[in-house]
């Protein structure tokens, strides 16, 4: 295969080898598939809104404050993740790692608030089993949350590799790809915030 490891020094580190360029393009295409995946979950959620059986409805349970906290945490984590790549391009491994760690902490914070929110709903009598609406809600949000958790685990692996192997074309590529993943989760959240929470509170 033409994974010939010729280095192209005119490119940023993460684009220097052929393998890196292939992997990054492939990951973008994977994100395209993820859009279809979340699209299906959104479609399911929208057609099942209002189908509450005897359970509570979203307008009774959604609270703006918690949701805004989650949103701002995630938006900030997307920002810190972007800065991490910016640092990487300046050649600073330390900067990259610090901003990645910050990103992960924010991710954990997001998960904390999200899980707390879920527990609250379950106390109020809204769980996966309550009604079609809540099944769709928990599945859509749960899938996003699972992606965030996976992202945190993945980022940990990359931090270890950065610490062990330093910043080279391989670790730079991996860092870049996880950053794409992380920003993408923020994109999904924007639509969850708009389509699930804001619309849920309006309707």
């Amino acid at each position: 295969m033409s994974h010939d490891e010729a280095i192209d020094p005119n490119q940023p580190l993460e684009f220097q080898t052929e393998k890196s360029r292939l992997n990054i393009l492939g990951f973008w295409i994977f994100l395209g598939a993820e859009i279809a995946l979340f699209g299906t979950l959104f479609a399911t959620y929208f057609v099942l809104t209002g189908r509450l059986a005897d359970g509570p409805g979203p307008s009774e349970l959604f609270e703006l404050r918690g949701v805004l906290i989650e949103t701002f945490i995630l938006l900030t984590s997307s920002f810190t993740c972007g800065i991490a790549i910016h640092e990487m391009r300046r050649g600073s491994r330390k900067g990259l790692m610090i901003w990645f760690i910050l990103t992960m902490l924010l991710g954990l914070g997001f998960l904390y608030f999200e899980i707390e929110e879920f527990i609250h709903y379950i106390h109020e009598g809204a769980s996966l089993q309550t009604s079609a609406f809540w099944s769709a809600f928990f599945t859509l949000l749960g899938t996003h949350g699972a992606h965030v958790s996976l992202g945190i685990g993945w980022m940990t692996m990359i931090l270890i590799q950065l610490a062990r192997n330093g910043l080279n074309s391989t670790t730079a590529r991996k860092a870049f790809i996880i950053s794409l993943y992380w920003h993408f989760l923020d994109v999904v959240w924007i639509f969850i915030f708009t389509g699930v929470y804001l619309l849920g509170m309006v309707m």
């Binding site: 940023p12 684009f15 360029r21 990054i24 393009l25 973008w28 295409i29 994100l31 395209g32 598939a33 859009i35 279809a36 979340f38 699209g39 299906t40 959104f42 479609a43 399911t44 929208f46 057609v47 703006l64 805004l68 949103t71 701002f72 938006l75 900030t76 997307s78 920002f79 993740c81 972007g82 800065i83 790549i85 910016h86 391009r89 300046r90 950053s179 794409l180 920003h183 993408f184 923020d186 994109v187 924007i190 639509f191 915030f193 708009t194 389509g195 804001l198 619309l199 509170m201 309006v202 309707m203």
Partner: protein, 102 residues
């Protein structure tokens, strides 16, 4: 390549960040604190969300680097498929629910 974003201050990111916070607050305000019709609200906040997604893609995710053309194409095509899946499903299912209740 983005404009010599190496070594300088990450303007792109800071502006993008401020914009996304601002747009988020704007949608909250429009959705919860104005008295527009539901339809209008939906159109506006969904558009704002799309703008925010664009900010992530173009200002944070360096979509135009590497295989820029293919990457932008992938995202546009996926967005179209996403819209087909969401809008198509809503349209089809609502139509069936409607004829069931008649």
């Amino acid at each position: 390549m983005t404009q010599n974003s190496h070594s300088n201050f990450p303007w792109n990111h800071v502006i993008g960040f401020i914009l996304s916070i601002a747009l988020t607050l704007l949608s909250v305000w429009i959705a919860l604190y104005t008295s527009l019709s539901i339809t209008a609200i939906i159109w506006i906040i969904v558009s704002l969300a799309i703008i925010q997604a664009g900010i992530q893609l173009f200002m944070f995710m360096h979509i135009r680097e590497g295989e820029g053309g293919a990457q932008v194409f992938t995202m546009v095509y996926s967005a179209i498929i996403g819209v087909i899946i969401v809008a198509g499903t809503i349209w089809v299912i609502n139509s069936m629910m409607h004829s069931m209740s008649m």
